[in-house]
Symmetry: C2
Subunit: 454 residues, 2 copies
């Protein structure tokens, strides 16, 4: 069976509420996207159609000299759109780098934004648009709880057109903006449908120059977006249960709508990721991965992610320190568009065999189904082995793509586990969406099981 | 192979343009939808969140006393939203009935709309919102060419929340409003992304009281939306090729995004339609069909439909006259919410075996793939038989559901064919999206082959 949507007419499972159906619904909030080789050339026309007269084009220093930005700027010039470039986006943004972009946006009083880059650029642009549109807000007002206040956004934002140049983040379709909150040394985010880009321009031409490792690592992000969103707690089992639609989170748990996107993105990853990594000229494969990134973004942007992402943040954060020491790489990174010392996608995927072994107790059918899509022969698999089957399939997939052999291979040892667990705890925003609750011991065991993969 | 997306890096095939890639992109414009039993109860909160203070609730006379409307009104009252009911929607609307609703909307100066009903109500509400927001336009300005002027919509519209009560039209997700244009006796439409509802509330509770025949006939509409949109001319083969995104039609041909929705809706139809028809208490099946209707709507709303729909309009139009004579049923119909003398879905599906036999010359793989989803064993099928395989599969599917044995069974004879062909010609808006061009002789042969199905 290809597809099983089983949660219909759910009753609210929230222990603190007696109402029925309060949680028994699910929303889809999807950005408009446009796909095609060369669509970036149309951005000027889109802005003209929107009546924009004072546009902010955000990017990072390295990209600002490369074709994706040049093509966008040419289109703005050709269509007579006045614009200002902000190219000071920090790759792996921080609260400080967000603030700087916000200040720039506030002073500029822009009527539209264009973000050309990877997740860092799109996320920074979302934050700049949000706070410039809400000048009396404190920075923490819209940051997710418990660190921020998680206030719902009720101010109208300006149009934002996102042009992704990597195939992983899916940020062009989501209402999420992630950054390092330096006072507490944790990755956190702003999550609201209101910051979703107005339009995503999915232009496969931008994928042509990505080195193999970037394609692989961003592809792993797509893989985990799909697997995690498909196995999150179903929407009607999540609590609390806000009665007003406006206060429901964007990350609402798996649902019949996000499932479609997750599964479809996973099929593309299964079919095209290896080809896209191995052959930079395989335009067909790279184009599909560029679309898969957006598709998985629509999926997880409406369902959420869970443990692989929650545990990845301390993995990136701590390794970043290690590597910075080892390789004497200071910020800004060398060629941040393409190379990052501990790529997000790698941090995410290294724990995936352990995570899905752990989560498969819940919804084992979904775990088997995804294993089959990734190439496993599941005809004779026992349902109680679903987690192991998926984990083995993932290990083989990662081995074929020459991925480092677990956390040990990227510089961790057992001694780091307490710090990794501690770094995961503030990620409750996503870890609470895992299909099984996790104790600190569970998290420690997951990190330990991820030290070595093969 | 489950899924084949093959059109990547297309070059424009338009013979009159020399540019490259002008057509090589595809957009997705999707309404937000919210799904769940009881979501209609939230409409008042949604309107409050939007700041609405003067709402128009549109429905038809029969529905106005039934639970879907009552639940919506209760929610408006409970949330203190002032509203006016317009319950004079005509089932199978006409230019005159649209005009009446438009006039009502203009006088009311509403700041938001709620449409509770089937396609007729949602379409009427879209038209009312559009023309009330554009008071200096002539009615034909926004009507599709060649009958109307097909002008792009550049005025801002008011929010419209659509609450479908049938599982077929998908109108809650599309930018389409269809009506009978009485001066020329043809079905035509307004098609623009701008009239797409702001939010669709997909509430399965509204499907509980549908009689079997209504479930079947609206399900056939879903079936044909999925099959037709999956087999329309691919987006990069369509012409003309407008260079500005705003002038590109909503019906843009099949594309990697609409394909996902079409195939998924088809899988639901294959799995649940028979159950939904046979057992009114099968809430799971009826819920899935209610979602499938929206999913297929997103698919065809972005890709288009072709011959089954194009040929259905004269079928409904002429039979309507026959039946009105035979049964002495005058407008307004008896219980138009549930019973229509020649349901749209039936008119659409009766020609489907003939149509897909004809179209399978192009994209035979897609025809075989859909046959397999509908239950055919295609392992040994020859690709050149794709059309016949799909046609046989459809015949069996329709026979199982006790569908009338072709156009002859609903009152047509060979003598009617010239009139049916003549009635199809103005439907160029959709017929031009068929994967093969059709001569008048082709259309006549398709009608003739549809006289008897089994």
């Amino acid at each position: 069976v290809f597809f099983a949507v089983v949660f219909i007419f759910p009753r609210c499972q929230c222990p603190t509420h007696s109402h029925t159906y309060s949680q028994g619904n699910t929303s889809m909030a999807v950005s408009n996207i446009r796909y095609g080789a060369g669509v970036t050339k149309e951005v000027g026309m889109d802005l003209q159609n929107m009546g924009a007269k004072n546009v902010c084009l955000m990017t990072d220093k390295n990209l600002s000299k490369l074709p994706p930005v040049q093509v966008a700027m040419d289109s703005l010039v050709k269509n007579g759109i006045p614009f200002t470039v902000y190219d000071n986006v920090r790759v792996e943004p921080t609260d400080a780098s967000f603030m700087e972009a916000i200040e720039f946006a506030q002073k500029g009083a822009f009527d539209a934004y264009v973000a050309v880059g990877g997740g860092s650029t799109m996320d920074t642009c979302k934050a700049a648009n949000l706070y410039a549109s809400s000048p009396h807000s404190d920075f923490l007002d819209y940051v997710s709880a418990p660190i921020g206040k998680g206030k719902p956004v009720s101010v109208p934002l300006k149009p934002l057109i996102a042009v992704p140049t990597t195939s992983g983040t899916g940020s062009e379709t989501t209402g999420v903006a992630i950054f390092d909150y330096e006072p507490l040394k944790v990755k956190i985010g702003i999550t609201s449908r209101a910051i979703k880009p107005t339009l995503g321009l999915i232009d496969p031409l931008h994928t042509l120059h990505m080195p193999a490792q970037v394609v692989a690592n961003s592809g792993f992000d797509v893989l985990c977006h799909a697997l995690e969103s498909y196995t999150t707690l179903p929407y009607h089992l999540r609590s609390p249960c806000p009665s007003n639609p406006i206060t429901r989170p964007a990350y609402q748990g798996s649902n019949p709508i996000s499932d479609i996107w997750a599964i479809h993105a996973l099929r593309i990853v299964a079919k095209y990721l290896k080809r896209a990594v191995r052959n930079p000229d395989d335009l067909e494969a790279r184009s599909h991965m560029h679309l898969a990134s957006a598709f998985a973004g629509i999926g997880f942007g409406n369902a959420g992610v869970h443990l692989c992402h929650g545990m990845s943040y301390p993995i990136s954060g701590l390794v970043k320190t290690y590597k910075a020491k080892d390789y004497n790489v200071d910020h800004p990174l060398v060629s941040p568009h393409f190379i990052s010392p501990q790529p997000h996608g790698l941090s995410v995927v290294l724990t995936s065999p352990a995570v899905f072994t752990f989560t498969a107790q819940m919804f084992p059918e979904r775990h088997l189904e995804t294993a089959e899509i990734l190439g496993a022969d599941t005809r004779t698999a026992r349902i109680q082995d679903a987690g192991l089957v998926l984990a083995d399939t993932l290990r083989k997939f990662l081995f074929d793509l020459d991925v480092d052999d677990g956390l040990a291979a990227v510089g961790y040892s057992k001694a780091d586990i307490p710090a990794l667990v501690k770094g995961t705890l503030p990620q409750e925003r996503v870890t609470k969406l895992a299909p099984r609750p996790q104790s600190e011991e569970d998290l420690a065991a997951l990190f330990e099981a991820s030290m070595k993969l093969y």
